[in-house]
């Protein structure tokens, strides 16, 4: 089949007039990529007739492709490029090794007057070829290394002009190739650093122009690519200097930001003091008569700017560049100046929008207008700061443990003053989302309460309160603003149809980014912040929002981290019914509600099914809370165990000696039969002969002891009944429990074991029911304890 389609392709390719090739190019390319097996089959081992036929077809195809690439018409070259890419992808090494002439004619196309897409595809094809050859050193030597410099030059020529012999290039205005050129260089630079080394200065000069552009900025993807490429340039550094190069670029970026903020923040007197002694020197004197701006090239070599908006734009671009440092792979080990970055963010976040009472020292030499425009620009800077911190945390993960607290303090400080800004809120949610897994579980009550405001705002953002009767709950500005705007209308309309009004509130502009950030934060809060430290009202609010948004992940995390039952309230409430109603078909929910984990090892003899109810967690929490009031008692137990143990030892010895074996057996039976049960079960299913024999023995032993077993089962019941009693009061606890801790006494053990083994088979059923029996007394004694407390 493949042979046929290959023949068909070559036939059509050779017979169709060139002008009509483009419309069928897509089809031909698909057929070619389906012939991948043939194209990639090694050619030297052609034995059969069909193989040699294939070889002829492949040869035909290759010659045709070569001639298409050099065709006189646009159509021919376009088709050629498309089919070359398809052939290379399909044929891999077999095609690659002979593609050097193709590469040459592809590069030649770049210099011709071809349409934009032809050139773009041509660039992509070449990049792909270089990409694919990378894993074969011989091909790299034969194809990539010789032709790469020419390729780089022609790409650079597409986007820029080289006016002089100096290694500096000027960007062409509005070239359609800029984005793809940056992509390509970024893609190749890390793999062929030495080939790129001669071009690194030229590329650098281009990137400076892109990154430093303030008034007509480049589109965001271009900007991002330029930043990543700027950082990747360190790959070109000589062997061992790459790390230093990286660090240098990083430090220069930081000092560029410092310099720009010197100008931008000139209208106020900053309180911040650097931890770096080099930065403590006063900033350069400024001309206060002029509009704020920077003329000269800054440490990074970027051009000047004028006006506070451009200045803030510059800071944002540099902050983004700094974040990109964290997400771009490096050539070798680098040293990330965490201290200086945090110093920088502490400077930027220490200036916040003042509240009514003021609190910021103004520089009286600067006009009020400039100061006020700075206030409106501040949230942008702070949002970018938080993004920088997020990217640092994502890159270093647990490495940021030492600075996580610092970051959190900087962020909450900003949030308190600027939560009116949607941007700040979004970035704050993202930041807290990456912070909580690190600092959350060991948070103190104060730390949690300092974040309560944030959590509440998050709830509001997720779902603004629908009715404006309680706008106080929503501290977010958009909710407020809307309610104000409504009040004008309320006069007339609210009395007429309040139902419509609710709909109106929902019809505001949508902020999907904000919603997403908020809904991603909620499960993290529930999972990582100790549940008992969350204020119950907040927890209720969170649960309410979760139910209303029907967010599955958040619902699951709420169920998995149940609210601890408060004293005086009944069992802890759970939103699991809502989860079960909305997502009954989901696997997670099924697994949560009806677990069927083979509880024990993958051995057939041990798969007892345990129905672990979802109540488990709640019960446990109930017990937590139940225990909390009586921590004193457990503490007492803990602190006074030596004496208790001593006394219990004596008592147990006494009981053992004085009483009949039956009572001591009771205690033992209560815990012992169960371990044996699984051993007995296998006998039925598995071929395990040994176990079977053991069972026989058991039976024989069991026979005589049967009567005692009959007596035992009621005894176990009394035993379990005793337990609630011992838990219910502190005073009684000490003795029975200590008896049990003392039970490990070595001597009684051997005496009782055979009996227990035999007991296993018989008492199994009664044991099974025990836990269910326990359930009731459990809750009872909880209540008892609560009464006590």
């Amino acid at each position: 089949m493949a042979t046929m389609s290959l023949r068909a392709v070559t036939h059509r390719l050779t017979t169709t007039p060139v002008q009509q090739l483009p419309p069928i190019a897509s089809f031909l390319a698909t057929s070619l990529s389906d012939c991948g097996e043939l194209l990639s089959a090694p050619q030297n081992q052609k034995t059969g007739k069909s193989d040699s036929d294939n070889a002829i077809q492949i040869h035909k195809l290759k010659t045709r492709l070569g001639s298409l690439l050099q065709d006189r018409s646009f159509e021919g070259r376009w088709t050629g490029v498309v089919l070359v890419k398809a052939t290379v992808e399909a044929g891999q090494w077999e095609v690659l090794r002979g593609c050097e002439p193709l590469v040459r004619s592809l590069i030649a196309i770049l210099a011709k007057q071809d349409p934009v897409t032809t050139k773009k595809m041509c660039i992509i094809t070449l990049t792909r070829i270089f990409h694919l050859t990378y894993q074969y050193p011989t091909l790299v030597r034969e194809i990539t290394t010789p032709s790469l410099p020419g390729f780089i030059t022609s790409i650079l020529n597409l986007v820029s002009v080289k006016p002089s012999s100096e290694p500096i290039r000027k960007l062409r205005p509005s070239t359609p190739f800029l984005e793809i050129a940056l992509h390509v260089i970024l893609e190749l630079i890390a793999r062929h650093p030495t080939t790129f080394r001669p071009f690194s200065a030229q590329i650098h000069s281009l990137l400076q122009a892109i990154i430093g552009s303030t008034s007509p900025t480049y589109p965001k993807p271009v900007m991002e690519l330029a930043q990543r490429l700027f950082i990747s340039l360190h790959n070109c550094a000589p062997k061992n200097a790459a790390g230093d190069e990286w660090r240098n670029a990083n430090l220069l970026t930081i000092s560029s930001i410092h310099r720009t903020s010197d100008y931008v923040f000139r209208s106020i007197i900053e309180q911040w003091e650097s931890v770096d002694p080099n930065l403590r020197q006063a900033a350069a004197p400024q001309d206060y008569t002029q509009e704020v701006g920077d003329d000269g090239p800054d440490p990074l070599g970027l051009s000047g700017w004028r006006g506070i908006h451009s200045g803030v734009d510059r800071i944002l671009a540099l902050l983004r560049l700094l974040s990109t440092f964290f997400s771009t792979p490096t050539a070798s080990a680098v040293s990330i100046p965490v201290g200086q970055i945090l110093d920088l963010t502490s400077r930027l976040t220490s200036v916040i929008v003042p509240n009514e009472s003021g609190g910021v020292q103004a520089n009286s030499q600067i006009s009020r207008e400039e100061r006020e425009s700075l206030w409106t620009e501040l949230p942008r800077i702070h949002a970018a700061c938080m993004k920088l911190l997020v990217s640092a945390m994502n890159a270093l993960e647990t490495g940021t443990m030492s600075v996580a607290q610092t970051i959190l303090e900087q962020a909450t400080w900003v949030f308190r003053a600027e939560k009116f800004s949607r941007k700040v809120r979004v970035s704050m949610y993202n930041l807290v989302r990456s912070l909580l897994p690190i600092v959350g579980p060991s948070m103190t009550k104060q730390a949690v309460s300092s974040l309560t405001d944030l959590f509440q705002t998050c709830c509001v953002d997720l779902l603004p309160p629908a009715d404006d009767t309680n706008p106080s709950a929503g501290s977010s500005t958009d909710a407020k603003g809307k309610s104000k705007a409504n009040q004008v209308a309320v006069n007339a309309d609210s009395f007429l149809n309040s139902g419509k009004q609710v709909r109106q509130v929902k019809q505001g502009p949508l902020f999907p980014e904000l919603k997403r950030a908020a809904s991603e934060l909620l499960p993290i809060i529930l999972t990582y912040v100790p549940t008992e430290l969350l204020v119950p009202s907040l927890r209720g609010e969170i649960d309410r929002k979760i139910i209303l948004t029907a967010d599955k992940n958040a619902m699951i995390s709420s169920v998995l981290n149940p609210l601890p039952a408060a004293r005086g309230r009944g069992a802890g409430s759970s939103i699991i019914p809502f989860l079960a109603r909305s997502y009954a078909d989901e696997m997670e929910v099924e697994g949560l509600i009806r677990p069927r984990m083979p509880v024990l090892m993958s051995t057939p003899d041990l798969n007892g099914n345990v129905v672990v109810d979802e109540d488990e967690d709640e019960d446990e929490d109930m017990s937590v809370s139940a225990y909390q009031p009586t921590t004193q008692s457990t503490g007492f137990l803990r602190t006074s165990p030596p004496s208790a143990a001593l006394s219990s030892q004596t008592t147990s010895v006494e009981t053992f000696q004085t009483s009949t074996p039956a009572p001591s057996l009771n205690k033992r039976v209560y815990e012992e039969p169960t371990p044996q049960a699984p051993v007995a079960q296998p006998a039925e299913k598995k071929e395990d002969a040994q176990v079977k024999r053991a069972r026989f023995e058991d039976d024989t032993i069991a026979a005589p002891t049967k009567p005692s077993l009959a007596k035992e089962s009621p005894a176990t019941f009394t035993g379990t009944a005793a337990i609630p009693v011992e838990q219910s009061s502190v005073t009684t606890t000490s003795t029975p429990q200590s008896v049990q801790t003392a039970a490990p006494f070595p001597k009684p053990v051997p005496a009782t074991t055979p009996v227990k083994i035999s007991a296993a088979n018989e008492t199994e059923e009664s044991d099974d029911e025990m836990p269910t029996l326990n359930m009731e007394p459990d809750t009872d004694d909880d209540d008892d304890e609560e009464m006590d407390g």
């Binding site: 992808e89 990049t127 930065l279 007892g608 345990v610």
Partner: protein, 572 residues
């Protein structure tokens, strides 16, 4: 191919190893599945129990009876550093999740030392243990450290708050900074080993064993006892099932025991069933899994295979035994290292994708602890992060960090890995070609040029610049030729004037020549006249009869004067 390896370390004993390849070797990287084989070794190390820690890039081994830690690079397979500490190190653990770049050290004096191997920062805690810290574990999410000591207490520490630069205000304080957040003191004798459950959540468990022959399962988030196990004898080491369904302990006599948490049909998780929590469980001694022979010595260390079905034990006689968990019995000998195998550390499976374990960065080398004042405490502004706090690492390209842009706005990467080109790009190209064609069919080349110029501004730009350059060169050429022409015409006129001049000169010369001609003729005529005269005079004299010659002579004399005159005249 999948393979499973473990790292074992030994405590040097007097015995000499059987094979030469094991001489001097203290740490072995051994493959045990599919086929047992010694992969690599690190030399010159002797570690006590709980003194080996393995991170993705390095192996740390605290030397027994010494205050130093050996650091081996797993990448290079050599010893990278020897790091001295002020106290003897009795236990080690690696924290920091999958990167493992925080080393926790338990000292002889009962304090913990935390060393950030990527920054060189080192933080010590209070000496809350009264005796050496003998076992250390860090939970899965790297939030808590659980440390056990010979003084029978177990402390729970918060990793984040110990490391944090900002310390909580110690105003009405209950605690000094860097002290444990919780203490668990249910054991009556020295703690031998601790294992933590595999959950990252709040209901994770800890199992600790002590020399009082107990093992306690407890909740380290609250300190609550979940179950007490009265073991037949004192356990030396403990490990937990990957699903936390059971735990395994090793005993002094070389035997092993697996103890399951789930035993009966319970409506609750048995560990969290309050009615069972206060009742100790007593696994029977007969239940133990016995070693093949009695000379194996005590079980020094335990490890479970990835799938939890094979238990490995390091024995005091230097053997590593494997046990079949399902059959609850000894299976085979995996390796023999002669010296007591004090630590066993399983490595994640090779060849199995671990998306959550994929490293985004790697530390090639560690930064030794720095003792300079700058990093420890900055006195100027407390709580601030010092400026020279730098993190040494290599950021790796990760596959998962840019899934969003790829799906959304990155046609380039899509096109790059496409079988040929994505449809959108093909259609764009076809449209462009069609537009070109239409332009061509419509009319004259001028329209073609215009349409082409419209869609391809850059080409136009280049054309314009090229044309401009051409124009300027042409102009230059023109001026050059202009000047050249100027000079030639000047030359011509000059030549012409020269010519005229020359003609004048020629005329002059002609005139002179004519004059001389005339003079010559005149002289000729004069000469002939004189000749005639003389002849006439001779003839006359002859006629007269006088000597003609004399007359002629006389005349000649006269003539001489005359001719000289005439000569002078002619010469003029």
């Amino acid at each position: 191919m999948l393979s499973e390896c473990f790292i074992a370390s030994t405590l040097t004993s007097g015995k000499a190893p059987a094979s030469a390849s094991l001489r001097d070797v203290g740490i072995c990287l051994q493959e045990f599945q599919p086929a047992p084989a010694l992969r690599s070794t690190f030399k010159k190390s002797s570690t006590a129990a709980n003194c080996l820690a393995v991170s993705p890039s390095h192996v740390f081994a605290a030397q027994s009876e010494k205050a130093i830690v050996h650091v081996y690079s797993r990448e290079k397979g050599n010893q990278e550093a020897i790091v001295p500490f002020p106290e003897r190190i009795r236990s080690l653990a690696v924290a920091g999740g999958r990167n493992g770049d925080i080393l926790v050290l338990g000292t002889e004096g009962g304090r913990l030392i935390l060393w950030e191997t990527c920054t060189g920062r080192q933080v010590a805690t209070t000496a809350s243990h009264l005796q050496p810290v003998t076992s250390l574990v860090v939970d899965r999410a790297s939030n808590f450290i659980v440390s056990g000591s010979s003084d029978a207490s177990v402390h729970v520490w918060s990793l984040a708050s110990i490391l944090s630069f900002i310390k909580p205000p110690s105003g009405r304080d209950r605690q000094q900074p860097n002290s444990p957040i919780r203490t668990f003191s249910n054991h009556r004798a020295a703690i031998t080993s601790i294992a933590l459950g595999h959950s990252a959540g709040r209901y994770n468990i800890a199992v600790s064993t002590a020399k009082d022959s107990t093992a306690v399962a407890w909740d380290y988030h609250t300190g609550r006892v979940l179950r007490t196990f009265l073991l037949p004898s004192s356990a030396t080491c403990v490990t937990l099932d990957p699903v936390d369904r059971a735990f395994y302990v090793g005993y002094e006599d070389g035997s092993v025991q697996g103890i399951e948490f789930y035993k009966n049909q319970s409506a609750q998780h048995p560990l969290h069933d309050p009615s069972l929590q206060s009742t100790p469980v007593q696994p029977s001694a007969a239940d133990r899994w016995l070693p093949p022979s009695s000379d194996t010595g005590a079980v020094e260390s335990l490890a479970l295979s990835y799938d939890g079905t094979i238990l490995l034990t390091g024995q005091r006689n230097g053997k590593v035994l494997s046990w079949n968990v399902a059959r609850r019995k000894y299976a085979t000998i995996v390796a023999d290292y002669t010296h007591p195998v004090t630590n066993l550390s399983m490595l994640p499976l090779n060849g199995l994708p671990h998306p959550p374990l994929e490293l985004t960065r790697i530390a090639h080398t560690i930064i030794k602890p720095r003792y300079d004042q700058a990093l420890s405490e900055s006195s100027v502004n407390p709580g601030a992060v010092p400026a020279d706090y730098a993190f040494q690492t290599r950021l790796l390209p990760s596959s998962k960090d840019t899934p969003k842009p790829k799906t959304k706005t990155d046609p380039f990467s899509e096109a790059l890995s496409h079988a040929f080109f994505p449809d959108s790009m093909m259609e764009e190209g076809l449209a462009e070609l069609a537009a070109l064609n239409q332009g061509q069919q419509q009319q004259s080349p001028s329209t073609v040029h215009s349409t082409q110029a419209l869609e391809d501004t850059t080409a136009k730009d280049t054309q314009i610049t090229a044309l401009e350059a051409e124009l300027s060169t042409l102009k230059k050429k023109a001026t050059a030729s202009e000047t050249a022409r100027q000079t030639t015409t000047d030359e011509v006129t000059k030549l012409r004037s020269d010519l005229i001049h020359l003609q004048g000169y020629i005329n002059e010369l002609h005139q002179k020549q004519e004059q001389t001609q005339r003079e010559k003729v005149q002289r000729q005529a004069r000469k002939e006249k004189r000749e005639m005269k003389r002849r006439d005079a001779w003839f006359a004299a002859e006629k007269k009869g006088r000597n003609g010659d004399a007359v002629v002579k006389k005349m000649d004399l006269d003539d001489g004067a005359q001719t000289s005159d005439s000569d002078d005249q002619s010469s003029e």
